[in-house]
């Protein structure tokens, strides 16, 4: 194997490790969401995003708590309630039953800061309505100590 080829392999391996180290805790995670549709506004000008069965987003690890406004999607009064579970880094943190279309706020106390910059919040709904709509998620607030 030539020196040039050895050098190229060494460079590639180093690059791979550097990329993995960066991706362990990248700063852009804080702005990343999944399972949430585009922003909309309700008549009271409250901003919200609709989710289907599962959505996730990130909050800073040094926050003491986070407040998440939630509202179930109801098409008629006879609709079944929607049960929502919320997890912080895969640990169950709250469970709410939304029985009507009014806003509810889930306040979660966050564990002490971890080695990562962010904590992941997952919201899961047990059912969806037409067009894959289950819950409307308002603007969440991270509260620092």
């Amino acid at each position: 194997m030539s020196r040039l080829r050895l050098g190229a392999i060494a460079f590639a391996v180093l690059g791979l490790f550097a990329a993995l180290a960066y991706l362990r805790d990248p700063p852009w995670l804080l702005s990343m969401t999944s399972g949430l549709r585009e922003e909309r506004h309700d008549p009271a000008d409250r901003t919200f995003r609709t989710m289907a069965g599962h959505a996730s987003f990130f909050v800073p690890t040094d926050a003491a708590s986070v407040e998440i406004p939630l509202r179930g999607v109801f098409e008629s009064e006879k609709d079944w309630p929607i049960t929502v579970t919320i997890a912080i880094d895969d640990r169950l943190a709250d469970r709410l039953t939304l029985t009507d279309a009014s806003w509810r706020v889930s306040t979660l106390r966050l564990p002490p800061p971890s080695r990562r910059r962010v904590r992941r919040i997952d919201i899961r709904a047990d059912r969806t309505r037409a067009d894959q709509r289950a819950v409307e998620v308002g603007e969440w607030k991270s509260i620092r100590p």
Binding site: P26, S34, G35, R120, D122, R127
Partner: protein
């Protein structure tokens, strides 16, 4: 030279992919049909469930969206997916990388977050490049390198292949493009020198062709019809197949093993090994929309990729050993066109050009290379073909950008719409 064309093609596809997603022109890669093809992977690897029920619970509150063509089978109430497992199998290596990265970065490991999305998108792109590489190998056996280079460039840029390598790369077509090229390559190698290895590979690729898109089983006619041109060559081919019947059996057995898990899934969900989850929707063989499929402004393959008309002319002009592909090509293209034209939704929903023909581009490539090869012998013909192809490639690329910008409709394009949008990017 053709080696460089494949490398440049990879760079163009990568740039197009980044452009499409960085500019927000397309939604996340796992969408529309791409969702149904992909959904097996989170179901198998994350939820350890072959019924799709657990992934339906997590992603979608228990019900898959209507656009997915995943239905609850009457009677059993189990999920049946109209789109088979082949694409998911070919996406699996990148999916596993994405799963590891997702865990590493602490994203939600639900199968639909950032890394999973782009693993599915990039897998399609990678299979198109692999398909071009294999197609190059097939073409180089029959044509000079510069002809092969021109053919590969024309196939990628003059048709909707670039679109299906970038914007809609999670659909089945990039995978079928690769598999068709590989099947042609292996068929030719087998008929030249039949070996156990080539036979097993033929079975593997043939099985995957069926698993990616069931109706593409029709493409397997390339194997028995290769080299057949008249009664004499037919008896020679038949004698060869009989002489090597053990190898043929090995190929068939391999294909059967590859297809078996799909039949098991159908059986698990419905109690039957063969089903159509399209319900009453299906083929209307008595009223095929042949004009619409071939020439209409709505989705006509020759209207949106007119360079393929040259390919058809080239197929007829094919000479030498490349002519071994002629009968299987004509048989496949004819029957496949009739099948597509008979499908209840002959436009195949939203698409740039007619996506039903992307799979067959390696076949058209033989015709294009033949035409280029003929034209190369005369200065005037070369200049004419070069000018026409350059213009058609420019038109195809421009129309692809129009589609990406939303200037051209996803389907049901009318002539007034086409005229109003002609050469307009916004």
């Amino acid at each position: 030279m053709s080696r460089w064309v494949v490398r440049v093609a990879a760079a163009i596809c990568a740039a197009g992919y980044v452009f499409v997603y960085a500019s927000g022109r397309a939604g996340p890669p796992i969408r529309s049909d791409g969702f149904s093809y992909y959904v097996y992977l989170p179901s198998w690897f994350i939820y350890h469930d072959s019924s799709l029920a657990a992934v339906a619970e997590d992603c979608c509150g228990g019900q898959f969206p209507d656009f997915t063509a995943i239905i609850r089978w009457p009677g059993t109430r189990q999920w049946v997916n109209a789109h088979p497992i082949g694409v998911a199998i070919m996406q699996a290596p990148l999916f596993l990388v994405a799963h590891a990265l997702t865990r590493w970065s602490n994203l939600s490991a639900d199968g639909f977050t950032f890394y999973y999305q782009h693993a599915a998108g990039i897998a399609g792109l990678a299979w198109v490049i692999a398909g071009l590489w294999v197609l190059r190998r097939v073409l180089l056996r029959h044509f000079p390198d510069r002809i092969v280079a021109a053919t590969l460039a024309a196939v990628l840029l003059g048709t909707n292949l670039l679109h299906y390598a970038t914007y809609d790369s999670s659909y089945s077509h990039p995978y079928s493009f690769f598999l068709f090229a590989a099947f042609m390559d292996l068929t030719e190698r087998w008929h030249e020198n039949p070996t156990w290895r080539t036979s097993v590979l033929l079975g593997l690729v043939g099985g995957l062709i069926i698993l990616v898109r069931h109706t593409n089983a029709l493409f397997l006619v390339f194997f028995p019809l290769y080299g057949v041109a008249n009664a004499t060559s037919m008896s020679v081919t038949a004698a060869r197949l009989r002489r090597h019947r053990q190898l043929v059996a090995a190929a068939v057995a391999t294909a059967a093993i590859i297809v078996a898990p799909q039949l098991a899934l159908y059986y698990q969900a419905t109690g039957r090994p063969l089903v159509s989850s399209y319900g009453e929707l299906g083929f209307n063989f008595l009223a095929p929309q042949l004009w619409g499929v071939l020439f209409s402004v709505q989705k006509g393959v020759f209207f949106w990729s007119p360079i393929l008309l040259l390919a058809v002319a080239g197929l007829i002009l094919t000479r030498g050993a490349a002519r071994n592909f002629l009968l299987p090509a004509v048989t496949f293209l004819t029957v496949n066109t009739y099948l597509i034209a008979s499908w209840f939704d002959w436009q195949f929903g939203g698409s740039f050009g007619h996506r039903g023909f992307v799979d067959a581009l390696p076949v058209f490539a033989i015709g294009l290379a033949s035409l280029f090869s003929r034209a190369a012998s005369s200065v005037a013909a070369r200049a004419t073909v070069t000018t026409i192809c350059t213009a058609l490639i420019a038109l195809s690329l421009f129309q692809m950008l129009q589609y990406w910008n939303g200037v051209l409709p996803f389907s049901d394009t009318t002539w007034p719409q086409y005229r109003a949008a002609f050469l307009r990017l916004k």
